[in-house]
């Protein structure tokens, strides 16, 4: 059913001919053959495991202290203390001001020992008696009041809900979201500690069981839709799994294919997607799974600069939330595919490849300058190849060989060959 990859190209290179012949035999792979390299990777990972380094272990000057996961009472105390300062300052006739750690791109630092970005210690002062900052200070005060109330009542709310409590003041959800991050930074706690969560975005399916607020969840019995990743990570307990690896998928469509084909039954794994850029809940779950199960994570993303960016957010954190990178990042994700070198290796036909736009190329070149790419030579080479060929391809490009090519041919062969970097 699948057209020969060479047929649409004018020349069939010897390399491609080799891949065709290989493909004929690939279906003979047994599950144990396929899993052998993965298991080897898992074992070597477990062997060389060392205690994770924290920011306090390495001596770095000029960075912000790591934020902590705090209980409701502690958050309340911190808010009370901050606002008491405000009240005193007002009563002294000095107005008031907040000193907020800057979260802009200029205040980020990639720390190689930690393999993630952390926030530097630059701060900005937001005074009430200043036209350009008065709004932010008012919003900050209000948000702290709301968070305090949530902590007192021990309930959670979504970011959207928070925004609707005072639409007139916040104007857009973006503004209340931003201030929420600022408040977390100021108080030195994680955003989840503030009892404000994002709505569910990520899904998980596969060989894992856990209890969510006491209820048993079995992710092998979630139909084909998967289990929505709950935003309250602290309510997930008793994780049990016989999976040998975690497959991180960028796109919903690829996830559906894997779920429907019950990929995890043949090759024991957990499949996770955040449908694009990962939210906090997905990143927290991934970290928790990795820390508990100690199994390798393989990434399946589009062969474009954004696919790499998504991997980088999982691994070294987003700039917006770098203050909490310690809790949100999961280092050492292997890039399984779709890699720029796969395009020729698997003979992806021309009509499935897209020309990179100016913007893509610019993003690609900027990525080449990033420390986390430079650090990994194999990744750097792949990205260089992408920018050089100016071609990108989505995971769906593999559907050109048949809808199930991904689950029946591509992934098994990649796994069997240990073809990750």
């Amino acid at each position: 059913m699948a057209p020969t990859p060479g047929s649409s190209r004018k020349r069939t290179t010897s390399k491609q001919r080799k891949t065709i012949s290989k493909r004929k035999t690939s279906s003979t792979f047994t599950a144990s053959d396929v899993m052998r390299p993965v298991l080897a990777l898992r074992d070597s990972m477990r062997k060389q495991r060392k205690a994770p380094t924290t920011l306090s272990d390495i001596n770095i000057q000029g960075v912000l202290k790591e934020v902590l996961e705090l209980g409701g009472l502690f958050v309340r105390r911190r808010i009370e203390s901050a606002l008491a300062d405000v009240a005193r300052s007002i009563l002294d006739g000095r107005g008031f001001r907040y000193v907020v750690p800057t979260r802009s791109a200029g205040n980020q630092l990639y720390v190689e020992e930690l393999d993630r970005i952390v926030l530097k210690d630059k701060t900005s002062v937001r005074a009430f008696a200043n036209t350009s900052t008065v709004r932010k200070t008012a919003i900050t005060t209000r948000v702290m009041g709301l968070v305090w109330e949530l902590c007192k009542k021990r309930i959670h709310t979504t970011k959207r809900d928070l925004y609707y409590t005072d639409v007139k003041l916040f104007r857009t959800q973006g503004e209340s979201d931003e201030v929420l991050n600022d408040v977390a930074c100021m108080l030195g706690c994680t955003r989840t500690s503030l009892s404000v969560v994002a709505s569910e975005k990520g899904i998980v399916i596969g060989r894992v069981q856990f209890r969510e607020a006491g209820d048993l969840i079995d992710c092998t019995r979630m139909g084909v839709g998967g289990k929505a990743i709950p935003p309250y990570i602290e309510k997930i307990t008793e994780i049990q799994s016989d999976a040998d690896f975690i497959l991180l998928v960028e796109k919903d469509a690829a996830f559906m294919r894997l779920a429907e084909d019950r990929f995890y039954n043949k090759y024991p794994c957990i499949i996770i997607t955040a449908k694009g850029q990962p939210d906090v809940a997905t990143r927290l779950l991934l970290k928790k799974l990795k820390d508990t199960l100690k199994i390798p994570i393989l990434g399946l993303v589009d062969s474009d600069p954004y696919g790499l960016k998504i991997l980088s957010v999982y691994m070294s954190g987003s700039k917006n939330m770098s203050y909490d990178s310690a809790n949100l990042t999961t280092p050492d994700i292997k890039w399984l595919g779709v890699r720029p070198s796969d395009l020729n290796k698997y003979g992806i036909p021309d009509q499935c490849r897209l020309a990179m736009t100016e913007h893509d190329i610019k993003t690609g070149k900027e990525l080449l300058e990033e420390d986390f790419i430079k650090k990994n030579e194999a990744w750097y080479k792949e990205l260089e190849l992408m920018v050089k060929n100016k071609e990108k391809a989505e995971i769906q490009a593999l559907s050109n060989f048949g809808f199930q090519y991904l689950t029946e041919e591509y992934l098994p062969r990649k796994l069997a060959q240990g073809d990750w970097i």
């Binding site: 105390r77 808010i79 009370e80 203390s81 606002l83 008491a84 405000v86 009240a87 005193r88 007002i90 009563l91 006739g93 000095r94 107005g95 009430f128 008696a129 200043n130 036209t131 008065v134 709004r135 200070t137 008012a138 005060t141 209000r142 702290m144 009041g145 305090w148 109330e149 007192k152 003041l169």
Partner: protein, 690 residues
């Protein structure tokens, strides 16, 4: 010979059809012999014929555009003539619609055309006076077909008369200057409005094509010379003037200047706005000139749309005239080299030739160049010894070698001062900034870019309005591809300068002068954006203007801010007070560190009101401090400066000669009031047209 656009009898401009030139013949005959059908007879074409057939090259695409171009050419000639003798230009433009019956009588046919076979005609006869509103209405009611016809197809006959106070023309030169295509005094390296000696001749050719009526010239080359009257036609086949009458009359009023009048077909309705825009922009770039525009529709009705506009002189400071320069070595080609070699004596040495006939080559450099050329060349060889290949070698070396850049001192830019005056005078912006870039070089020709950016003002649409000038001529067509438009639209980050490119009314005025403007296309209507040097210069000039504006805008915004800051800040105070009191009133078993505040709130010692009042006091105090700081930083209030009128330094009599002749004596006594009423009528006319 004063260098004017009016063409002089060219000493030896070999016409292209000259049969003495064997070169032009050869390729043609070769082409004829290869073509299979019966050998075509070899024909020659005069330049006049060529331009008559390709009149769109010179801007005569259709009757409307032809009217515009005719006016344009005549006005530019008038300006050149006046500037050549350092007279402040005084140009009057008179456009008269000639009603069909008058036109027929001018041609000597008195009866109205009588239609017998009506099926022969495309359209029913157009009734007279279609331009009046009432008849339009009637037409619409009676005949829906003719709904828009009178507006768009109403080509009429117009007499265009332009009078100036310029150098005038010598009696004997008039026929050749006015009626021989491609004859002129401006075939040299010099910044000039016109170059090819084509303008007035094209107007005549168009007159001949559309109405068949000749061109009338009245001129006097000096106050003491008699006045020449000349009626001219052109012999297109031979590119030769046909003199119908050529007489002299006494000049008792010691008048100097010219008056040219042509009768052409045109379309005022569709091109009126263009013509007015042209005159207005010309007034922007030439604030030292006085323009007087009269349009007479010769329709006897109250709403005849007659128009009179005076674009008054605002300064008597004229830019220094452009100087002729020698070719820069990097701008020559083999053809120019050969021409230049032909102009010097055959005994001239090559060293002498290079160092005297080309710009930027001192004698020492000429010697070095000749040494570089190799053994075929010696420093004492004469130009007569040069073979064709020698010239090729010289040409190649001149393009490869490094020379000093030609400097811009030969150019005559409008001047930042004049540009600013012109902009304030005509566009009346609320804010204006101007900047002149230093001279730069493109393909061996120096150029200077001057720009102005105006905000607000009359007749500006929201967004970017571009006013382009090349060698001090307004460019009105093909704006989309022009370097200035593209730069203003794409390369300037307006928002960085506190200007909104979509809602603010921005006028971008850009004047480029050069010894050779790199026009694109045939129409000389726009400058392409492929020249990086020019593009960069334009961008720098506009950016500089924007920077000047930014400081002003920021200051204004700060003023506005200061006025509103109290309001903005106090708006948020109640919310803050409420949030704090609400929170602390609910706290139970507080920490030691916050106990003081919690207790005070819960005991009612601190209420919303106390917090609010304290906050407002603080804001008030900060406000005062900032007001003092602001006042000490910026000084007194800038708004109080007044606009002053700049009185002309020269006595009025010096340049009002034309006016006195034209108007009755009582009129010029209160000229100022007249011009202001005229302005009003122009504005009204513009509003009606919109």
């Amino acid at each position: 010979m004063p260098p004017s656009k009016r063409a002089a009898p060219a000493p030896a401009p070999a016409p292209a059809n000259s049969s003495s030139n064997p070169k032009s013949k050869r390729p043609r005959t070769a082409a004829a012999s290869t073509s299979l059908p019966a050998p075509a007879t070899l024909k020659f074409k005069s330049p006049a014929e060529f331009f008559a057939e390709n009149k769109n090259i010179a801007g005569f695409d259709n009757p409307g555009k032809s009217l515009y171009t005719t006016i344009r050419e005549l006005v530019e000639n008038a300006l050149d003539a006046a500037e050549s003798i350092h007279n402040l230009p005084d140009v009057s433009l008179h456009i008269q619609r000639i009603p069909p019956h008058r036109f027929r009588s001018m041609l000597g046919m008195d009866a109205a055309p009588h239609r017998v076979d009506h099926s022969l005609y495309k359209r029913p006869p157009i009734p007279e006076q279609t331009t009046t509103k009432n008849s339009n209405l009637n037409n619409n009611i009676n005949n829906p077909d003719s709904h828009s016809r009178p507006r768009h197809t109403a080509n009429h006959v117009f007499r265009v008369t332009v009078q100036d106070n310029g150098c005038g023309m010598a009696h004997d030169d008039v026929p050749n200057m006015m009626a021989r295509v491609l004859a002129g005094t401006k075939y040299c390296v010099r910044q000039a409005r016109g170059k090819f000696g084509l303008g007035s001749k094209m107007a005549l050719i168009w007159a001949k094509m559309s109405t068949g009526l000749p061109l009338c010239v009245t001129t006097s080359a000096s106050p003491s010379a008699p006045i020449t009257h000349c009626v001219l036609d052109i012999d297109i086949t031979n590119n030769r003037p046909t003199v119908i009458s050529h007489t002299k009359s006494p000049n008792p009023k010691t008048w100097r200047g010219s008056k040219v009048s042509v009768t052409i077909q045109g379309n005022w309705t569709t091109y009126r706005s263009k013509i007015l825009a042209y005159m207005r922009q010309m007034a922007v770039i030439t604030p030292y000139a006085q323009f007087h525009l009269i349009f007479q529709s010769n329709v006897d009705a109250a709403d005849s749309k007659d128009l009179e506009a005076i674009f008054s002189r605002r300064t008597d400071h004229m830019p220094p005239p452009a100087r002729e320069v020698k070719h820069h070595p990097s701008s020559v080609n083999q053809l120019i080299l050969k021409q230049l070699l032909g102009l010097v004596k055959p005994s001239t040495t090559l060293v002498h030739f290079l160092s005297t006939q080309l710009d930027s080559i001192p004698r020492s450099l000429a010697v070095r160049l000749i040494n570089e050329l190799g053994p075929d060349f010696t420093s004492h060889m004469t130009v007569s010894q040069l073979q064709l290949n020698h010239i090729r070698q010289i040409d190649a070396l001149l393009h490869a070698a490094r020379f000093d850049k030609p400097n811009g001192s030969c150019l005559s830019p409008a001047g930042e001062y004049n540009l600013r005056l012109g902009i304030t005078k005509e566009l009346k912006p609320t804010l204006v900034a101007t900047h002149a870039e230093p001279a730069d070089v493109f393909e061996g020709h120096p150029f200077i870019v001057e720009a102005g950016v105006a905000l607000g003002g009359s007749g500006m649409k929201p967004g970017i309005n571009v006013y382009r000038f090349a060698n001090r001529i307004p460019l009105l067509f093909e704006a989309g591809n022009d370097v200035v438009t593209k730069t203003a639209r794409d390369s300037i980050r307006w928002n960085n300068y506190k200007i909104s490119p979509t809602t603010d009314r921005i006028g971008v005025i850009c004047s480029i002068v050069s010894t050779k403007i790199p026009f694109k296309g045939t129409g000389k209507e726009y400058i392409g954006d492929d020249s990086d040097v020019i593009k960069a210069s334009v961008k720098r000039a506009i950016t500089q203007c924007c920077l000047q504006l930014k400081t002003k805008l920021v200051r204004r915004a700060a003023q506005k801010d200061a006025a509103e800051r109290k309001k903005t800040i106090t708006k948020y105070a109640p919310g803050v007070a409420k949030a704090l009191v609400d929170l602390f009133s609910q706290v139970d078993n507080a920490d030691a560190s916050t106990r003081d505040v919690v207790d005070k709130v819960q005991s009612g010692e601190i209420t919303k009101e106390t917090l609010l009042n304290k906050l407002l006091e603080h804001v008030q105090q900060i406000d005062k401090e900032q007001a003092i700081e602001y006042a000490s930083a910026t000084g007194r209030d800038h708004k109080k400066t007044e606009m002053v009128y700049l009185a002309p330094r020269a006595g009025q009599e010096a340049y009002l000669n034309l006016w006195q002749q034209r108007s009755t004596k009582g009129k010029h006594d209160d000229k100022a009031s007249v011009s202001s009423t005229v302005r009003l009528s122009l504005l009204k006319a513009l509003q009606v047209s919109v």
